[in-house]
Symmetry: C2
Subunit: 343 residues, 2 copies
């Protein structure tokens, strides 16, 4: 049987354990997997693009466990009452190929994207960072705020979104959790004096959410929203102001902010920093940029964490996904047409 965490169980488990605790614990799984980055199979995700959006499959394997995520990205979904991003994922045993774990990943992806940003910021942002600007207060924004508090203790957030209702929603969700929130009058106002700038908008276009003159020395930019060809958020000039860190170079060159730059634009894969092979932040004034697009290993870590966390709990059920005939060569014996008795 395959263990299955559906939406209802995921929601109950997340609300019960607490999203901030989950993000903290998940960061540890992410760090463990990023440190052994070289042991994973890595391929750019397989994307099916249409005018409506994109559907992607993101597989990876550490030779013991295989995992993949199905995820869509449809920027016009919210206007029609649907989620921009929904997802589910699977883990399986490499030794026999059987799927062992299936989970909704709409909520889990929100948690893992935030946990990844937090893990990276712990290494790249100034340790004394106290103020985050959040440009875009959609689905991902609350999770990001919790991740930066978990990673760096940041409690003060300056927000901006073109949709006032989305900002109100952020305040409604986060003020009760002890965040000090400033609603800015523009993106420029939001980033003024911020130590960390998170851009997390969903337009499927080469937008300029942030321009070079708005970026102060010492800032860490956490660029989340630009994640497919033709979809970027940062003024290209910003990328030349600091050092750019990515998840997986071949994928980010296609999907990230650096799609705006030449093919030899220098970047550092973040796992190198974690493993001690490359420097992270080297001075107080250095501008660091995490050009995040999301990579399969992060989903693998998130699924592995969830699988372990719900073990022995009430938060999963078992489903019958793999046919299991007594004689493995006799699949047909399972489905032989039933003869009426006496015929």
């Amino acid at each position: 049987m395959t263990r299955f965490v559906d939406v209802s169980n995921m929601v109950r488990w997340t609300a019960g354990r607490g999203p901030e605790t989950i993000i903290s614990e998940m960061m540890q799984y992410l760090e463990d997997d990023f440190r052994r980055w070289e042991s994973f199979d890595k391929t750019p995700r397989v994307a099916s693009h249409t005018p409506f959006g994109v559907i992607e499959l993101m597989p990876t394997s550490d030779q013991e466990t295989y995992g993949f995520k199905y995820v869509n990205g449809h920027p016009s979904n919210p206007a029609r009452g649907f989620q921009t991003v929904t997802a589910f994922g699977v883990l399986s045993d490499v030794h026999n190929g059987y799927p062992t774990f299936l989970a909704e990943m709409t909520v889990l992806t929100a948690l893992r994207t935030a946990a990844t940003s937090g893990m990276v910021a712990k290494k790249l942002a100034r340790p004394d960072a106290r103020i985050m600007a959040m440009i875009g207060t959609g689905t991902q924004s609350e999770f990001q705020a919790l991740a930066f508090r978990a990673a760096l203790g940041i409690n003060s957030v300056r927000i901006w979104d073109t949709d006032p209702a989305a900002m109100e929603k952020f305040v409604r969700n986060m003020a009760p959790l002890g965040f000090e929130i400033t609603i800015a009058g523009s993106a420029a106002h939001a980033v003024e004096g911020a130590d960390v700038v998170t851009t997390c908008t969903a337009d499927k276009a080469n937008a300029t959410i942030l321009t070079a003159d708005q970026v102060s020395p010492g800032v860490h930019i956490n660029a989340i929203g630009g994640d497919c060809p033709g979809k970027t958020e940062l003024d290209a000039a910003i990328l030349g102001l600091g050092d750019v860190f990515v998840e997986y170079d071949p994928q980010t060159r296609i999907e990230g902010e650096i799609q705006q730059m030449s093919a030899d634009f220098p970047v550092t894969e973040f796992w190198q920093v974690l493993a001690g092979h490359a420097p992270g932040r080297t001075s107080r004034d250095q501008i660091t940029i995490f050009d995040s697009v999301g990579f399969a290993i992060e989903d693998f870590s998130a699924l592995r964490y969830l699988r372990d966390a719900v073990e022995g709990s009430e938060f999963f059920e078992e489903i019958d996904l793999v046919a299991n005939p007594d004689d493995p060569k006799d699949l047909f014996g399972l489905v032989r047409e039933l003869s009426p008795i006496g015929s």
Copy 2:
């Protein structure tokens, strides 16, 4: 909610409707989709190879519906009590990216592989073919026999397998269904006088199940087992004796029998025959070879057929795979930590 056909429902539905009827009906869906081949997104499958076997994702889309299959292939599984091949698949709506249908595909893949062979043989085998040789009587063999009866009325099967128990199993399953079965003493004996030769063995090696001198004029060879790099069944010389038909050229060059041939070895994509763009069988003595590796569009057709066939029936349940907050931008509202009353 997402409709889900688990193993138990699949088995009950298949046994109730009858595998031969299902293969017949599925052939129609396959033909419909092969005729509109050009309207599909096509990519070679994404394979993760290990010493144990392979795990693959096979996506495709017709711009309205997206589908993919997860499938493994582990030749040493049966010796350890597991299936060589297990699978499951998903259909989703392209317009919003939501998964709408999930099904076990271990049984469904067996049916679709057979239905594909049947569809192809209807065009390529001699219409008066009466005897099939079946080399390899593993999991796929009974389904193949039913497909050739459904497609061509073939009722007489000559079988050979290195494992006597697998041949006994074939006889036990198929004799009651009215097949006339001859157990041959060797592969050479089995193919003697056969109009159609199906090779369906599971060794992960460049094997020679069939040699050129065993191939008579007019035969249709249905080569199913050679389906990944380094895994072939036919003597390369056979491929020069006749005309080779494939599913999707770029994938078959990597995975099929023709991996043994030069990159410019001429082949015909089968959809071209169905669409009237290329000839199929042109003479009684022509040797036709279907170098089958399995392609994503076949799984798409199979899932589409199953989805339609179980509609309104008792053979599916609904699962909660997609989070659905009232405000699509307020995913966090679903999982906000619950505060104890009075706190």
